[in-house]
Symmetry: C2
Subunit: 175 residues, 2 copies
């Protein structure tokens, strides 16, 4: 294993020579670096694991699962493509491709929109609903086991609230 520092390009002796006069460059201190790196590694592993478990048990990726969840919550189990995209913070293009695949798999259907000739509805099919009902067990168990059960309730609450603020601060994309 390697050392746990980061962000500042290096820690060896000759480094200061390579950042001449940049003492005021406001680097992360070692503790901040450690926390940041823990976050990156932890998130990488967590999302990878949840994705893998869904795939192996149900042939569903984590983003696909999220699509099913959002459609299931919507009126008539339907959402406009743009709504669906922004609710997940995905690009329109990505959403189109994802829904196209899921439609080919029979999990969702698409319908043109009467009120707005440009729009399209994505609707959860019965097959999609049934798959969601099954996959939800796997997903929830994973979130508990790998995330919630690893933390104290207050840790988990702090974590969620923190990302609430972070997400709110980062304006949604428009691509």
């Amino acid at each position: 294993m390697t050392s746990q520092t980061s962000a500042r390009p290096a820690s060896s002796a000759d480094v200061d020579d390579c950042f001449p006069g940049e003492a005021g460059a406001n680097w992360l201190d070692p503790e901040q670096q450690r926390l940041w790196r823990s976050y990156i590694i932890g998130t990488t592993r967590l999302l990878e694991r949840l994705d893998r478990e869904l795939r192996e048990a149900h042939g569903l990726s984590l983003p696909e699962y999220e699509v099913l969840v959002r459609l299931s919550e919507a009126d008539n189990r339907s959402l406009r493509m743009a709504e669906l995209a922004s609710s997940m913070s995905h690009s329109r293009s990505r959403t189109t491709h994802t829904i196209a695949r899921m439609e080919a798999a029979g999990l969702v259907e698409r319908f043109s929109c009467d009120q707005d000739g440009r729009g399209r509805w994505a609707t959860l099919s019965d097959k999609g609903w049934k798959l969601l009902v099954e996959a939800a067990h796997t997903h929830v168990r994973g979130v508990r086991e790998h995330l919630i059960d690893q933390l104290s309730p207050s840790q988990f609450a702090t974590l969620g609230d923190a990302f609430e603020e972070i997400g709110a601060h980062l304006a949604p994309r428009t691509t």
Copy 2:
């Protein structure tokens, strides 16, 4: 915008009929659902933003930047491929592809290993070092602006420690 619930497949009236006798299925409660979804959205936006800022300013993705950081910290600015992979929790295959691209761009070099005929060293080139020195400013500014400055110090510390535990609990892959 849509409602903020999740994980449990739906919230409409007929849902309980669809989960017969599963009151004991241990779903996430509404607050847990909210926290979980905040995390997913926040993380999606944060990583996407940091990646975009690096790309636009330096033509470098966030994973590529992390490669540069790790190599810069290592003795002789070099790491074995497997070490590099595991330090980022990436697969060997992914690391091979990433390094191949970065080698083509002149940012790293690869050398066979004398002690172990199977092994290879990835080494940071001068060009890679120079790019890292530049990109570090962008990256650190982004981490501060979008993450650290949005949180209190104790929130940030809690977040980092939480993911330390989460990451530790999830065994590294072997693929």
